[in-house]
Amino acid sequence: MTRVAVTATVLGAALVASVTVAIALGSADLGVGEVWGSIVSHLGGTASPLDALRDGIVWELRLPRVLTAALVGAGLAVVGVVMQAITRNQLADPFLLGLSSGASLGAVSVLLLGVGLLLPVAAFGGAMIALVATLSLASVGGPLTPGRTILAGIAVQSFAAALTSFVIFWTATGDSYRDILSWLLGSLAGARWPAVAIAGVAMLVVGVPLMFSGRVLDGFAFGDRSAAALGIPVAGVRWTLLAASALLTGALVAVSGAIGFVGLVLPHAVRLVIGPGNRALLPLSALAGAVFLVWADTLARTAFDPRELPVGIVTALIGAPVFAILLLRRRSVG
């Protein structure tokens, strides 16, 4: 078997195992067999082997939460790969370039200010505005270098995060700090079946087609002109893929808040194993992102049980050092 096939098999098996084990872990003591029993009974319409309370924990709470984690992790990793290739910037990530925070702002505007839009649509709008703002800011007075893009992303991200916090403080009562943390750092604590539906449809409609863009993304390796010489319609492809990235990010942030660093860490980790070709990198990063976020969320909800960390704290604790290592490895950020 090739290296790609081995990696795909390992990650696929790891995902199935992670989902089941993650559901079993937590305050109510559940066995892996019981988890499967409950899931099979719901799918087949037979009686669950578990009592109503514990069956509810599996089917109503943990399963949708773990599935949402897997879908969000997969989607963010795919967006990371696409953005890194399109902007020729190894540090690109939907969180670092401000898309996630923009999407949070869009979502919060709908939820708290009553802006008359569907939640994922508003999140997409926020992500798209943030993306355009970052790229415009980065290209003022010079070429779009990785360093400038990151700096512009930080500015946009901070601004959108501040506005999000402001909106929550302005409208909410009492417990608003918890909401702020959930939107700014990301949390899967509230993920139920509707979240699975939103993230699942977004992955099916946007994420899966993006996973087939590897051939085109490879063409960008030597820059826009080189891509054009290979027959790629550069401007059209760039904006189509960036808009699709913003759309997917918007839908994912609508259900999970702005979880950072997944799009940065996982593609780099997978590249170390299978090399830089985007065709295999896209689906394998998706698998790796799913496994990663399932475990990050399990850690977030079990480490200090009964208190929960926002999962973004876990991903940032892992992701920020990786970001630092990537910075150190670069000869010049430009």
Binding site: D218, A221, F222, G231
Partner: protein
């Protein structure tokens, strides 16, 4: 003799014309050198002929078909360009890079290109890049990278190959290799158009020369008849005299 006919190609940035009504014929299966001082518009002209730089007007005709009017992917199967200083940060292997040259021939999902593997290997071999097939492109020297980029262009199986300063990063032995690669391509019917700095190289190997100055064609024709000492003085601002290379007997430019 049939030719690639470049017709009144103009490229503007704002008000300024970087390439201004350039027209010449490049014989099919011949080597046409584009020479001129720095900033004359040679690279822009090559990009315009490739269709990467949008020409404000003009046509590039091959067998009566305007290449600039073709869909991009179709054009990329006919015209390939090797640019100067193409770089990437991605640790792609030489073979990965050459494989990119097949992308205009593949279907959207990467299939439909049955002979890709053998075409890639033969492109690597012809460009003298087989030794770099497994190497990380970011660790190669400028000259080594240049060979890989040439192999990528050959993998496109172009009928027209455009080279921007192909010998720029090459040591002396590699320069000779490059000229023999170009010769083998033209012998195979490929039309080569290259921007070159070295007038001796142009005189020794090119079938025709196009002298570009301020974005316009200053002279055009068979190499030695065109590159007279007077013209070289006009365009490049140096005193020049043709002599013979004592080793090869080919023309050699003395300047002073």
């Amino acid at each position: 003799m049939s030719a690639v006919e470049v017709r009144d190609v103009t490229v503007r940035v704002g008000e300024q014309a970087l390439v201004d009504g350039v027209a010449f014929d490049a014989p099919v299966g011949g080597f046409t050198a584009i020479v001129g001082p720095n900033g004359a518009g040679k690279s822009t002209l090559l990009r315009a002929v490739t269709g990467i730089e949008r020409a404000a007007s003009g046509m590039v005709l091959l067998d009566g078909v305007d290449l600039l009017a073709l869909p991009r992917r179709q054009r990329a199967r006919i015209v390939a360009l090797v640019e100067q200083d193409a770089t990437t940060e991605l640790p792609l292997t030489g073979r990965d890079v050459v494989r990119l040259g097949r992308s205009p021939h593949e279907s959207l999902l990467g299939g439909g290109d049955a002979d890709a593997a053998s075409i890639i290997e033969s492109a690597l071999a012809r460009a003298g890049a087989t030794d770099f097939a497994e190497r990380d492109i970011t660790t190669l020297s400028g000259g080594e990278r240049q060979r890989v980029m040439l192999a990528r262009a050959l993998a496109q199986q172009p009928r027209v190959l455009l080279l921007d300063e192909p010998t720029n990063h090459l040591d002396l032995a590699a320069q000779l290799d490059m000229t023999s690669v170009v010769r083998s391509l033209t012998d195979g019917g490929v039309t080569v158009i290259a921007a070159v700095h070295d007038l001796s190289l142009a005189a020794a190997h090119a079938d025709a020369v196009v002298v570009v100055q301020h974005g316009r064609v200053a002279a055009h024709g068979p190499t030695l008849e065109t590159l007279t000492p007077a013209l070289i003085g006009d365009v490049f601002g140096v005193r020049a005299e043709w002599t013979r290379n004592p080793l090869t007997g080919r023309p050699l430019l003395a300047i002073g």
